[in-house]
Structure formats: C-alpha cells, structure tokens
Symmetry: C2
Amino acid sequence: MDGIKVLVFDVGGSVFDWQTATRAAVSALAGERGVEVDDEAFCFTWRRRMFEQLAEVRAGTRPWQNADSLHRAVLDELAEQYPALELSAQDRDSLNRAWHRMGVWEDFPESLKRLRERYIVSILTVLSLSIVVDSSRHAGIDWDAYLSCELLGVYKPEAEAYQKGVRLLGAEPHESMMVAVHPPDLLAAQRAGLKAGYVKPKLLEMGSRGETSSFEIVAEDYGDFADKLGC
Amino acid sequence: MDGIKVLVFDVGGSVFDWQTATRAAVSALAGERGVEVDDEAFCFTWRRRMFEQLAEVRAGTRPWQNADSLHRAVLDELAEQYPALELSAQDRDSLNRAWHRMGVWEDFPESLKRLRERYIVSILTVLSLSIVVDSSRHAGIDWDAYLSCELLGVYKPEAEAYQKGVRLLGAEPHESMMVAVHPPDLLAAQRAGLKAGYVKPKLLEMGSRGETSSFEIVAEDYGDFADKLGC
C-alpha cells in the first residue's frame, strides 16, 4: 500500500490462538484433579478479567504492571470461583505459563514472510514482551521487532501507544498500519493517525465485533491480507 | 552452559560492522564533492564522540535521547571540522542513515541460528531500536528480541540496563549471559550479575582492549562461541 513502511500487529487472538493454549492447560489440570470444569468459561473469564484490570491500570487506579502479573492476579480470583480445582500458588504460576506457548493461526507464518519482504513488521501488543517472545519461538515465527506496551510505558488503546510504537520503528503514524481482528483496536489506531488493516477472526473472540467500513484493508484471512497489500 | 536461558548481544562492533558501513557513506560523499577525506578518522571520531555524548546523557548533563539523535549531533560538530565537505542538513540526515544498514561479520548468522535453538537470543544495545531493526533486516538475520536501551530508559553500562533487559525476557541476571567484543561492557554485565561471553573483535575496535580472564566464555569467533555453549 502506497506510503506505508511499517505494519504493527496485535497478536492476542489476532495472530496467536490464546484459547486453545489456555483451555488445554486448564483442562489438563482439571483432568489431573478429576474435576469437571468448563475450560472455555474459565479461560474467557481469565481473558475478560485481565482486560478489566488493564483498564484500571490505564485509569491509574491499579499500579502499572505487565500482562503476566495481571493474568496471575486473575488466577487468584478464579481460584476462589473454582474451589474444587484447589489451585495452589505453584499451580497458578504453572497455568500462567500457558500464555507463553500460544500457537499461531496456520495461514499466518507464510503471510508474515511475504509481508516482511516489503514492510517492517512488528508486534504491538498489551501482552508482556516475554509472552510474545516465548510464543513466537514456540510457533517458529520471526518478526522485525517485538513491541510490548510494557516497554512503551503506555497501553493500547491510548493514542500514544500506537504513535510511540511506530516512531520507534522509524515511521510516522500515517506511514503505518495497525493490523488486528478487533475493530475497537483499529478504530483507536486510526484516531492516532495510523491506517487500519482488519482480518476476520478465526474463532469467536471477545471484542471482535463492530463496524469495519472505515478500515483501509478488510481481509478474509492472512493470505488475502498479504495479497491486498501487494505482497 | 548450565542454567543459562538468555543470551543478550551487544551489536555495534560486536555483531554489526559499523566501520565499513559508515566509512563507505563518508567516502562516497567525499568522492561526490571531489574532496580528500580520511574516512577512517572521520568515522572513529563520529563513534567516539557519540559515546562521549552518551556519557553526558547518563550523567544527566545532556537530555535523554537515542543514538540517532546523538549520531546526528556529532555530525554537526564534524561539519565544522570538515568544512570542505560542505555538509548540508540533508547531507547529515542522509549520512546518519549509514548506521541503519550495517552488515554483520560473516560467521555470525549461522552461529545465531545455532544459539537460538537452545537459548533466547536478544540484542541489548545502546543503539536505537530503529538502527538495530533496520540493520538486522539489511543483514538478513532474525533475533528473538530487540532490546535497545532507548526502550529500557537506562543506558549500558548502568547495572539496571542489563538487569531490566534480561528480566523483560523472563530470566534473572544469573540465568543470562552478555556477549560482546568489549571487555568493559562485559565487566559491567558481570557486576550486574550476568555471565560474560567474550568474542575476539574482527577489526581494531574502540573499547575492545582489556583483561578477559574473568569471563565465563572467551571465544576466537562466533562459531567457536556456539561450540563452547554446546550448540
């Protein structure tokens, strides 16, 4: 796309499949305990509560912390809600590591290679640096940079997070595109001056509904996205 | 090496050949102007003055800024010292980009691949994020992470730069090794609790002299380094 130098990707749900990784970890633990647990409900609450706590961090009513710390705090709440699981501190630490071994959607790796030939392609995420480094290694993919909001000192969807991220990569906001399956993330990126690239989510995903008509790219999948960017 | 999870690499001079890239840019410009310039002297002054200015940033007597900004400020000084070059603002901006297209020592890419199979391998540099992202793309190499002190808010050789860097990657200092051709960098890393991996420099390099007997690894080249780490 003309004038675009940098693509920044949301990853949780957009690129990495957090659901399968976390549900498998909860399901395995429940199996060990011989307890029936709805792992989907458990993990959707885990994810939703993390974002609710993150909103408190952004509002300044909760201390600055990274996603590992927030995920772990939610597990303390979930331990109360699922007493039959008898989650020890060690169990919670171990479960929390599921976020570090997320896989990617199968059409992504090939598309990433194509996109990197033409653009600087970075992660831009609210997840911790360690989560995205470990999950990228786990999935066998390489990026041009790994930007966590943890490093930027400001979380998405604040405009500064997008602007600071792309400037660190040597581009102005108008020379950059945010890519995600979540319309609210993309609308915030547009308000910060970036272009928006929407890719349809693979699974039912929180925050993935909404109007997409203002986005510069609307793609069926990552192959279609790379095609539409001329890669 | 037992207990090591993370390797953090210095890159300027250690991995990236800054000398050839910057000297070629200066030499090309001098050629265009029909002026005789000792490009080696020019570029060694450029590099040395950048570190002198960086020391002022660390001391708090110069405002916080990244290496691009420091490199550019030194060019303003050099323009005075080399009046025959008639360096316009545009020339200086253009010359400053030479740092974004550094090549790597030829034994490095293969060694990096071997090391990444066993360790999380990241850059840890005083250079800007944009410099190391662009130069890595230029050289065709991929890292697990790209940590610039620009992101950490504290410059090497402060202990906090090493400690914060490796913790962001999920390791404690004693589970980490700093790798460089510069003994002072490695000694500072050891004082911060990291292990030290020394690789002999390929070219005469500023700050590459000094005692190496306290380092956990002393290698002839990057192949030897990977061998010594059991990769």
